[in-house]
């Protein structure tokens, strides 16, 4: 399954166009303009970090892409075609999976049960546990998630990093092409953070587009290929991570501008 996915993604990768393009996206809630003409590209095989202070509009933008909010104006292009993502089901059908900060795991269920929650395999109306367990084990092995003792242990008994890994594995198991992760390293210790960052790099190496929302700029520079900064609902910059440094990003996040010549400004149309 994973082999096929990598091949399919690699083929599209060759065309060079970004997987997902956000063009001129507006979103307001009553009088509050949450997003203003946002333009964002999420290319294949790249980790894009979305940074911004509290209230900058990071989660609104994420939810517009994930289909939870509907944008007021603007469009989303998926593999070059305009798409309307009306709900979470639509986004899942396209291949967008979101790992929320709370991970949305049921503590009382085991790893296999969580990974297949809502998409169980059945044979003559009964759950096909054997085939689900095999597929879950394959996915975890392909992501080098090897620290769990048994995939039949309840998620409650896992460490924070392991839980994050399970949530990510759950997201990539469904032929997803874009994985959005909300604060994946918040509340994790040093070793656990390492584990999750390595996992993000492996997703990129498989050719997936990854968007990481994070406050932790150390982690951002560690893992991101591209960095985009939101400031008060405007996307003020997006550029290769190598073209920016910590100072630049902090300045964009806090003032929306950069005094010296830095990254390319996002086009304002």
């Amino acid at each position: 399954m994973t082999g096929d996915m990598t091949a399919a993604v690699a083929e599209q990768h060759a065309t060079g166009a970004p997987l997902l393009k956000v063009r001129g996206l507006d979103k307001h809630f009553g009088p509050v303009q949450a997003l203003y003409h946002v333009e964002l590209d999420l290319p294949y095989g790249k980790v894009t970090a979305l940074c911004g202070d509290n209230g900058a509009g990071k989660s609104v933008l994420t939810k517009c892409i994930a289909g939870i909010y509907q944008p007021d104006h603007g469009e989303i292009l998926w593999e070059g075609h305009p798409v309307h993502i009306r709900n979470a089901r639509d986004s899942a059908r396209l291949g967008i999976e979101t790992v929320y900060q709370d991970l949305a795991l049921a503590d009382n269920l085991d790893i296999v049960q969580n990974m297949f929650l809502g998409r169980e395999r059945v044979r003559s109306r009964l759950l096909d546990e054997d085939s689900m367990e095999r597929a879950a084990a394959e996915t975890l092995a392909s992501l080098h998630v090897t620290t769990v003792r048994s995939i039949r242990q309840p998620v409650a008994s896992l460490s924070g990093g392991q839980r994050q890994s399970v949530a990510v594995a759950k997201a990539v198991m469904w032929n997803s092409k874009l994985v959005i992760m909300d604060e994946p390293t918040a509340a994790l210790g040093v070793a656990q953070t390492r584990q999750v960052l390595d996992l993000i790099k492996r997703l990129r190496d498989r050719g997936l587009a990854v968007m990481v929302i994070s406050h932790n700029l150390t982690d951002v520079f560690e893992v991101a290929d591209r960095i985009a900064v939101l400031y008060l609902g405007r996307l003020v910059v997006q550029d290769d991570a190598s073209a920016m440094d910590l100072q630049t990003v902090v300045e964009y996040m806090t003032t929306g501008r950069y005094s010296r010549t830095g990254g390319t400004r996002a086009r304002e149309s």
Binding site: A88, A104, A106, N108, V122, L127, S150, P154, S159, G160
Partner: protein
């Protein structure tokens, strides 16, 4: 990934630490009750076959009612109405088969009673999910309404409020014999043998197939232990039931209610453990928001859960009607709800949702019936002690539940 026995024991310990205390505490409680009451009962009558069958009878109603309550508890809710909703269903059945009035055949009469229960539960479930009302309040209202409806139904028929199952008609005696009829001893042995061999083959081939394909599976020794336990329990139960328990004449064989209780246990175990619906019930009890985001129709699963809860309560109270030989207005519908919740929790079902099995209701029901029966043998004056001891055991079960759950929560926080 086939595990050795040692690894399996370690994994089991991990599960206990993660808040799944499992069935060990309740089995310990059962052994303690057995030893204590055997020692203190007059002439050690507690363990006599006649008394044990009596105990099973008292337990059967609580067991099935606890399995009903299990649906609500696993969903993270509670249903206080089970006693009287079930009693309504049973009263409808008993009234409909009365020969001098409606004189229905017993099959449609039972179906009508159970249909009433199912619809009642579905309405409660819809109020809880659509209007987002707390299940505690909705089912408390349901309890009062069902209590009133129950009294209304009783007054509609003959015997001025006490319809009974006495009489020679087949219809009446079939309901009566649910609790009091017995299967021929030879057939009992054959039936038990078929069940044990069937379950044994299922466990053995299922486990060894999983071991062969490298999936997480118990070691062969543990599969054998499981099968052995089932065989021993079947052997002991049938041996007890096949002993003549009548003071005068012959009364032997496995009573009908035992296969009925086992049927409910089997059906609900398969539903909860091996179907999508069952998986969703657990997921909602564990993390309703995660279930919703996974695309599960949370409202529908909850509503069906409440409907199944009331349906099963109907089965339980039908057994109760059979035990009483009729229906009367002093049915302990309120008391039985508390016994049902207590039995489920004592058996290992969590009050906080997401954890529990139908088997827990059966084991917890045995504990409560054991206390009830054992204290009864000490003399009538001990009625007050039945309440006190049952309450204390319930309290102990809730403490175990809460402590093991807190242990699980703090464990994952420190490791995060």
């Amino acid at each position: 990934m086939a595990q050795s026995l040692g690894e399996y024991v370690r994994a089991y310990t991990a599960r206990i630490k993660a808040g799944e205390s499992g069935v060990l505490p309740v089995i310990a409680a059962m052994l303690a009750i057995m030893v204590v009451f055997t020692v203190i009962s007059p002439n050690h009558v507690f363990l006599s076959p006649g008394n044990l069958v009596n105990l099973f009878q008292q337990a059967a109603v609580i067991m099935v009612l606890a399995m009903a309550e299990g649906f609500a508890l696993i969903l993270g809710e509670i249903d206080l109405s089970v006693g009287f909703v079930g009693a309504c269903g049973a009263a409808i059945t008993v009234q409909l088969i009365q020969p001098i009035t409606t004189n229905w055949h017993w099959i449609p009469a039972i179906l009508a009673g159970l249909l009433f229960c199912t619809v009642f539960g579905m309405i409660q479930g819809m109020l809880i999910t659509r209007l987002r009302l707390p299940s505690f309040i909705v089912t408390l209202a349901g309890y009062l309404i069902a209590n009133g409806v129950f009294l209304y139904i009783l007054l509609r028929g003959p015997f001025s409020g006490y319809p009974n199952l006495a009489g020679l008609g087949d219809n009446l005696s079939i309901i009566y014999r649910l609790m009091w009829g017995a299967i021929d001893p030879t057939v009992s042995w054959i039936g038990a043998g078929v069940v044990v061999i069937g379950l044994g083959l299922f466990i053995w081939f299922g486990d060894s197939r999983r071991r062969r394909s490298g999936l997480v599976a118990p070691p062969a020794s543990l599969s054998l232990v499981k099968i052995g336990l089932i065989a021993v329990v079947a052997l002991v139960v049938v041996a007890i039931c096949n002993t003549n328990r009548a003071n005068l004449g012959t009364l032997e064989g496995v009573p009908w209610f035992i296969p009925i209780v086992l049927g409910v246990l089997g059906a609900w175990t398969i539903l909860l453990q091996r179907t999508k619906f069952g998986r969703y019930v657990y997921a909602i009890g564990g993390n309703a928001e995660a279930a919703r985001r996974a695309g599960i129709n949370v409202s529908r699963v909850r509503t069906v859960g409440f409907a199944l809860c009331s349906f099963t309560a109907g089965v339980a109270m039908l057994l109760y009607a059979s035990l009483l030989g009729g229906m009367s207005n002093n049915v302990g519908g309120g008391q039985y709800v508390l016994y049902a919740v207590a039995a489920a929790v004592i058996g290992g079902t969590s009050l906080f949702g997401g954890r529990g099995k139908p088997l827990h209701g059966v084991l917890g029901g045995l504990v409560i019936a054991g206390i009830y029966n054992g204290l009864y043998l000490q003399g009538i004056s001990s009625v007050e002690w039945q309440y006190i001891v049952t309450g204390l055991v319930l309290l102990a079960a809730v403490v175990i539940d809460a402590v093991s759950r807190r242990g699980a929560a703090s464990g994952s926080v420190t490791r995060a």
